[in-house]
């Protein structure tokens, strides 16, 4: 056999192995969570607040953490989008392609992207102390928003840089202002925006370090922005560090819920993306 065919076979083999590895990891994570968490899974877990003595194995659920996580993720995703989209279009439509400001901001967002969330948490905590604020839903939302803005900006920026020049030209030549051109460009990169949103949600909902000092933890559902809020990652963390086996099982059940929420959001997101991309110009 010719050597180039052998090389091709080897690469094909490597690719298949990588795919199997990825599915293997995903599968084993899911199996671990489900096997450990299933016994503790109950309707109460989803619909009840932690009762008295929940953390030593008595009745209750993690509704506080589910709602808290959804509040924080929902609000910070919306805020993140509102802040990132203007940044992306300022860099890509208003600034010249060789602009120093553009490359400086890209570098800054790369650096921000790499900063661990505990640092964001500590930063948020320091600011809250200096302002005399206590741990609150608002604090969590702000820190998580800061955490996901770099993810939003960098992933949307990659798509926006691929915007076809001729598409922008066609819009300008109909007499559009730059703002109107941006509205057309948004339609073109909607699939990219959706992907960026999914990535950000994934990061936001799973983050424990950022919310630990800023949102705090509580057994009730916050009714206003200045009350502390519980989150699923922290619920997992606290229960997993318990010496009581029943409580540790509940941690896995909470992990199952977290994974399930991410899964549902991803599937819904993909479906919406598919709808949005039908008008995209190839």
């Amino acid at each position: 056999m010719k050597s180039k065919f052998i090389v091709e076979k080897i690469f094909l083999g490597l690719m298949i192995i990588s795919v199997i590895l990825v599915f293997g990891f995903l599968g084993s994570i899911l199996i671990t969570i489900v096997r450990n968490g299933w016994p503790a899974m109950s309707w109460d877990m989803i619909t009840q607040l932690p009762g008295g003595g929940f953390y030593i194995g008595k009745e209750g659920g993690v509704l506080n953490a589910i709602v808290g996580s959804l509040y924080i993720v929902g609000a910070s995703t919306v805020l993140g989008l509102l802040i990132s989209i203007p940044i992306v279009f300022y860099i890509n439509i208003y600034l010249k392609s060789d602009s120093k400001l553009a490359s400086l901001s890209r570098l800054s967002f790369d650096v921000l992207y790499g900063i661990p969330s505990i640092v964001y948490g500590a930063f948020g905590f320091a600011i809250m102390i200096s302002l005399g604020l206590r741990t609150s839903l608002l604090g969590g939302i702000i820190v998580i928003t800061l955490l996901i803005i770099p993810i939003f900006v960098r992933s949307m920026d990659e798509v926006a840089r691929q915007l076809p020049r001729h598409l922008l030209d066609a819009t300008y030549s109909l007499g559009a202002t730059r703002y109107e051109v941006i509205k057309v460009a948004i339609r073109q990169i909607l699939p990219g925006i959706a992907t960026a949103t999914l990535l950000s949600i994934g990061r936001a909902i799973g983050d424990a370090a950022g919310v630990m000092f800023t949102a705090g933890f509580t057994d009730s559902i916050p009714t206003s922005l200045d009350q502390p809020a519980a989150t699923l990652p922290l619920a997992i963390f606290f229960q997993l560090s318990s010496p009581i086996p029943d409580v540790r099982e509940r941690a896995y059940a909470a992990a199952m819920l977290l994974t399930l929420i991410v899964l549902v959001l991803s599937i819904v997101g993909r479906m919406i993306t598919h709808r949005f991309s039908k008008n995209k110009i190839k």
């Binding site: 010249k96 392609s97 060789d98 076809p164 001729h166 598409l167 922008l168 030209d169 066609a170 819009t171 300008y172 030549s173 109909l174 007499g175 559009a176 202002t177 109107e180 057309v184 339609r187 073109q188 039908k278 008008n279 995209k280 110009i281 190839k282």
Partner: protein, 288 residues
């Protein structure tokens, strides 16, 4: 036997019906709309364009006529496209640009500080080389220009869509799928859609930058025929690489070389009796 005959006559009938239905809606011709009274012109005076340190257009002086087709010809890289894009300030999307001189449309200098760029581009449309549908439905593509210029009335927009799609002979092909993505059309259909989209904002002039070169021969002829028809109402300025195309439809011809206008005149003068040595050489195919 009898049955067979009736069968075939029925098919024939159906065919006749089909034929008449395709022939009937021959688009309401452009001239029906009544021509505009005054003949506007575009006057270009001492236009110089520099990109970075490069002198792209050198002292261009030109007059372009309304309701005529002006073809700009010349070898690659001679500044044809730059000239075309200077006429509606699309050139300003280029970075490191410097423009001097005047381009007057109806006596108004479009490079004047007070000139409104969106208004200029509405008046002078551009059809690019490759079709550029916007990422939306066919209907929204046509109405996009009208909507950004303030037309919101649904009924009026419906009328505009039909009128301009008929103008470019696309109505019958797409009338049943107006709300499907424009990107699903064939390349030739897309280019006609882009022409219709440009016409829908009611420009006075149409700039065409080798608008047939990316198309197959049939679609290309389609666009060319449309230009010939549209000249009754619009001033058309087209850049073309095909001398034959210029021969077929041009009223005026401008020959450019190395950023300069070498010769300009009516198509007849320029093709039959070129004055300049370079023009003669180019027309006879010494270089291209």
């Amino acid at each position: 036997m009898e049955k067979e005959k009736s069968e075939s006559s029925r098919i024939l009938q159906r065919f006749a019906f089909w034929k008449s239905s395709t022939e009937k809606p021959e688009a309401p011709l452009v001239e029906d709309e009544g021509e505009k009274s005054e003949d506007a012109v575009i006057d270009i005076e001492n236009l110089n364009v520099y990109i970075r340190e490069q002198h792209i257009l050198k002292n261009v002086n030109l007059t372009l006529h309304d309701k005529k087709i002006t073809c700009i010809i010349g070898p690659s890289g001679c500044g044809k496209t730059t000239l075309l894009r200077s006429i509606n300030r699309m050139i300003e999307t280029t970075e490191h640009l410097r423009v001097t001189g005047r381009v007057c449309v109806d006596g108004e200098d479009i490079y004047d500080r007070k000139a409104e760029i969106t208004h200029i581009r509405k008046k002078i449309g551009l059809l690019s080389q490759r079709p550029t549908p916007l990422p939306m439905s066919i209907y929204d593509n046509i109405t996009y220009g009208c909507r950004i210029h303030g037309e919101r009335n649904r009924k009026k927009l419906d009328g505009i869509v039909e009128k301009y799609l008929r103008n470019v002979n696309l109505w019958d092909e797409v009338k049943d799928r107006l709300h499907t993505p424009a990107s699903a059309l064939s390349i030739g259909q897309q280019q006609r859609l882009c022409l219709a989209r440009g016409l829908a904002v009611e420009p006075q002039f149409i700039l065409a930058d080798e608008s047939t070169s990316a198309l197959d021969p049939i679609s290309s002829k389609h666009i060319e025929d449309l230009f010939a028809k549209l000249r009754k109402r619009y001033g058309i300025i087209m850049v073309t690489h095909t001398l034959r195309q210029a021969l077929r439809i041009a009223d005026y011809v401008v020959f450019m070389y190395m950023g300069e206008v070498i010769e300009q005149g009516t198509a007849e003068e320029l093709f039959k009796n070129p004055q300049h040595e370079l023009t003669k050489q180019y027309l006879s195919g010494v270089f291209s």
